[in-house]
Symmetry: C2
DNA sequence: CGCGATTTGTGCACGTGTTCACGAGCGCCT
DNA sequence: AGGCGCTCGTGAACACGTGCACAAATCGCG
């Protein structure tokens, strides 16, 4: 854990932890039923790249389920999720695959399994800090409930905003953080504050016991090792696109002298 | 290009294109001045992982520049950007490094170089499609101008919204897309529509000549090979955090029987 | 009941990305 | 001027992720 975890196309993702949690880290086969699947109730391991794709599979599966399909082939599902079918099969094999050869995967069963792995059985309570431009939009975004989350509380440091109601939720002062986090059993928080306030908010969240943070502020957050941070930065995404745009432009400008 | 490009911790990123643009793909040394740096005016190649980190370096550099520093060591900058210092040095080496051994990097010079590589010299015009909850927040977000972009036009399909002014910008009907894109020289678009409308909007954008898309709608977009798509999905980010949360919970619940 | 069509599961080779560790160059101080 | 300490640049080893290609397994049909 620790540090920003996004690293869009990372290859390994630092992750010095993992052994810090009690796993002996002896060269276990990692994937595929090592001896028996029984003793270990949960998955022994799961590549980070796979974890990042599971939500996409889940979304695609929900769409398929609504259209009435009850089984999918890896090819279909892979196409719907925008990935290679071999990759999809390998990803699903990490979850003790339940596909049927010659047939495909049972949609309902697969949905349930992925939701279980992602820990989405319980609707998780999320705190949203910073009710500015972006924060209000996130608070008003309805797509959370259907995907395993609900925003349980809104916070802001600006006294003018405290007391407002946004999407039916009361905006509370940041000083009430500890109390509300404890009462609502909040473990995940979203930071939508200006950059200069983000580290302070982070420290407060961590002190309250929050262990997962989604950061929209354009800055690096430093957190203890047991806290996960993911970052979403609009401008960075655009700049990456800009690079490719720039490259495409310079390439097409060249005389395409091949052979 | 082609397909969704995010793949948070991807290892390679499909990328069947690249040869589709005219590069012979002969095993060029890729990094580091092959013979002379002169003949090739632009960078010959650049790992995707590096490209994704350059914007973060750029942001950190701007902060350092404001604090008055005129040189940075790789260690300092790496810390500010939240990465390993060796990784940072290697990344910068791809840009024909301009660091001075024993001293560090010239902040101003490095900023200029990265901005050049990312194609941020020209302020790029961006179209924003979908002026709902999220779209309005994005339109109102002020952090664009300072980072190389400006929103040049807003579009929506809802006649009720067309004609509104948001952050000083007129909301136009999606049917005017082609005209405006041509006039404003727009190459990058942001999609903030509901999922069911996203593919249609994408097709329209591609038809107008847009070649880079940032997609906030929770769905996979299919586009031709020469178009880049990056995806940002709130719920997916939260679900990834949920997984780690889930795993942390089950791990600490186990008796930490080591040795 | 057996065969063929079909689709999963996965071993293996390859490409990409990360990290360490150390040589090369630069500035400063004596 | 010469040496010394500091920092960049990078080769090489390693870890991770991907995709092909094929064996194993299952269903349906004659």
């Amino acid at each position: 854990m620790s540090q920003q975890r996004n690293e869009r196309p990372a290859g390994s993702d630092p992750r010095p932890a993992r052994s810090a949690a009690g796993l002996p880290a002896n060269g276990s086969p990692a994937h595929g039923l090592s001896d028996r699947g029984a003793p270990v109730s949960e998955l022994p391991d799961l590549p980070e790249a796979t974890v990042a794709r599971l939500p996409e599979y889940l979304r695609a599966l929900h769409v398929l389920a609504e259209d009435g399909g009850d089984v999918v082939s890896s090819e279909e599902l892979a196409h719907a999720a925008g990935v290679n079918s071999a990759k999809l099969r390998k990803d699903l094999s990490y979850l003790r695959s339940n596909g049927t050869r010659g047939v495909g995967y049972d949609v309902g069963q697969l949905i349930e399994k992925i939701e279980h792995v992602l820990g989405l059985n319980q609707h998780r309570a999320v705190a949203l800090v910073g009710v500015g431009n972006l924060g209000q939009a996130l608070a008003g975004y309805g797509g959370f409930g259907s995907r395993g989350f609900h925003i349980a509380a809104l916070f802001d440091a600006d006294p003018v905003r405290v007391g407002d109601r946004i999407a039916g939720l009361l905006v509370r002062h940041i000083d009430d953080l500890a109390e509300v986090v404890a009462v609502e059993h909040i473990a995940i928080a979203v930071i939508a504050t200006p950059a200069h306030a983000a580290q302070g908010v982070t420290d407060a969240l961590v002190a309250c016991g929050v262990t997962s943070i989604l950061n929209f502020a354009p800055c690096v957050l430093s957190v203890p090792d047991n806290v996960d941070v993911r970052k979403v930065d609009l401008a960075i995404e655009l700049q990456i696109l800009s690079f490719h745009e720039h490259r495409k432009a310079t390439l097409t400008a060249l005389p395409e002298a091949i052979s």
